[in-house]
Subunit: 346 residues, 2 copies
Amino acid sequence: MKDLARELGMSVATVARAFHEGAAIAAETRALVLSRAAALGYQPNALARGMITRHTRIVGVVVSDLHNPFYPDALARLSEALQQAGCNMMLVTGGGRPGHPKAGGEMAALRLLLSYQPECVIILATTLSSAGAEACAAAGTPLLYLNRFPAAATAASSIVCDNAGGAAALTRHLLDRGARRPAFIGGLEDSSTQAERRSGFLSVCAERGIAPREHPAGAFSYEAGQEAALALLQGPEAPDALLCASDILALGALETARHRLGLRVPEALLVAGFDDIPMAAWPSHALTTLRQPLDAMLRAALDWLEPVLAGLPPAPALIRLPGTLVARGSTAVTTMMLEEQECPTP
Amino acid sequence: MKDLARELGMSVATVARAFHEGAAIAAETRALVLSRAAALGYQPNALARGMITRHTRIVGVVVSDLHNPFYPDALARLSEALQQAGCNMMLVTGGGRPGHPKAGGEMAALRLLLSYQPECVIILATTLSSAGAEACAAAGTPLLYLNRFPAAATAASSIVCDNAGGAAALTRHLLDRGARRPAFIGGLEDSSTQAERRSGFLSVCAERGIAPREHPAGAFSYEAGQEAALALLQGPEAPDALLCASDILALGALETARHRLGLRVPEALLVAGFDDIPMAAWPSHALTTLRQPLDAMLRAALDWLEPVLAGLPPAPALIRLPGTLVARGSTAVTTMMLEEQECPTP
DNA sequence: TTGAAAGCGCTAACAC
DNA sequence: GTGTTAGCGCTTTCAA
C-alpha cells in the first residue's frame, strides 16, 4: 500500500480510503487507486485490517464428524452462506467422542482458532464438550451451536431441529404401520440430539403402552449401525421396527439386516432414520426419515450472525425448528403387514 | 499481553518470549507467565504475530464439491493432518462448473482468502479455472493441487492418483469379465481427472480392438449418473459394462439401471467406479472401483507443505500415485457370463 | 477531500 | 536472561 501511494503520489491514508465503502474520498481518486491496485493484483492485508478494526470477518466453524454425510451437506450450505456474507470460514474438524484420544487435538485446534480472533464460532456437531464453550467464553467469542442443544450452564445460542417431535412422529409412523416391538438405536451417548430423539421415541411408546427397546450404538456411524443390527436382530423376540438416531446409523442397520441377516425390509422389519441425507433417497435404501429443516436453520444462523458481525452482542437464541417426515419404502405398508394389523395379537 | 507484563512486573518482550519454543528465557519465568496466562485464558493474538513473522500458519483450502462423498473424506484427513502440523485451515467451497453463476463467488472467496496471507493454498477439487491459479501467483502464494493436474501454464504443484492407469486397470477388469460393449461415463467436462480416466479407458479399448462408447454426464454427481444410465442403457445395442469417472456417478447409474430399468447387475451389466467412497462398499451397491491412495497423497502433500511452512519456496512437484483396484459384486463373474465367455461370438 | 501521525498487539534486533 | 526500541500494514483520529 505504501508503494501504491508513492507511485500514485498520494498518502497511504488516501489509498486506504479507496478500499472502504463509506470513506470520504473523491470518486475519481478512488477509481484511480482501485484500477491501479487491480492491475498490480494488490489487496489490503486482512490481518492488518483486522488488528485495527477488531473485525476479522473470520467465522470459526467446528465440525466433528465429516464421515456422517449430514455434515458435509450442512457445511457446504453454511460455507456458501458465509461467503455470501463476505466472511471467511476457519474450519476445525474433530474426531470422535469426547475422552477419545483425538478430542484433545480438537481442543488445541479450537484454541488456535480462537487466537485468530474470529467474529464467532459455530459448532456444527453433536460433540465438543463444554470445555470448548468455556474456551470461547474466556476469549469473549460468541458461540452458536447448530444441531446441538447446549448444556444448561453455557450462555451459548443454539439452533436445532425439533428432535423430540420428529422422533415422536417417526415412532407413531412405525406403530401405525404395524410395529409391535420397536427399538431405538442410539448414537453418540452424551449428545443432546441423541437424548432428545430418544425421549421422543420413549414418550410415544409410553403413550401407546408399548414396551420400548433400545440399543446404544455409541456413535453416529454406518459401522455402529451394523453392530447394533447384529446385536438386536437375532433371536426369537427380535424387534420388528428400528428407529435409528440418524440416517447413517439406519443405513448401516438396514444393510446389515438385509444382506447379512437376510431380513426383508419392510416386510419383516421396518426401519427409519433421522436427517434425510442424500443416500436415504437412493432406491436401494428408500429410507423413511425425518428431514432436518436445514434451510430454515441456516437462515436462523445468519440472522443470529448479523448483529455479531456488526459488533453487537448476539441475541441469545434457543431456536427449535420442525422437520418433515419423509415416508419411503423402508416403512411401506405391505400386504403382509396389513393382514397382521387387521388381526393384531391372537 | 501488556496487562500480563505489567501484572507480572516484566516487559512485554519477556512475556512474548514465554510463548516461543526456542526463545532465550529462564524456565521459571516462562512457567510463571504461562501459568498466569492459562489462568486468564490469554493467548497471543495470531493476527499480530502473523503480521510480524510473515507466517500466519493459515492454510487455504478450496473444495469444489462437498456433495461428492470423496471430498468430505479427503477434507477430513487433510484437516486432521493440518491441525497436527499446527496449522489452521481456511475453507473456501465453490459450487459447480466454471462459467456457472456460482463460479464468480468462488473467485471472490478465494481473493478474500488470499488477503489473509495464507502460507499456501491447496485446491482439493477438479475445478477452479486457471483464474484461481493466477490470483495465487499474483499474491505470491504457493499452490498445490490435490486430485487435479494443473494446466500446462501454471507453476503449481500437483498430487494425483494415477487416473489413466487406474482406469485402464478397471477397463481390463471389465473386459476380462466378459464385457463386449463397454461404455465410459464421464464427469465434469474440463477436469483433468475426467480426461485422464477417459484416456485410460480408450487406450485399453484400442489395445483390445473394442469400439469404445461414451457418454458425457457433465458432472461428478449422483444425478448425472442417473441421467447417463437412462440415456445409455435403453435400446437393443446398449452397453454391457459401464466404467464411470467416479463412484458417485457409478452409484447413480447403478441404482438407475437396477431400480428404474430393471437391469440385473452384474448379470446383465457390469458397473465400475473410481475413488472408493464409503458407499461403494455397502452391500447393496458392492461397487467395483479404484481406490485412490489418499494416505499416500496426503503424506506427499505434507512433505510439500514442510518447506512452504518454513518459508522456503516449494519443491514444484508433479506426483502421480498408483491406486488399488477393489473388485466387488458389481463386476462379479456369474455363471451366465462365464458361459458367454466360453463361447464368445457365434 | 486529503495528509500527518498515532497506534492495533505483537516480534526481533540490539543493548545491557 | 531481560528490557528497550522499532516497526509489521493498515485504519483513523485530527488538522489543514
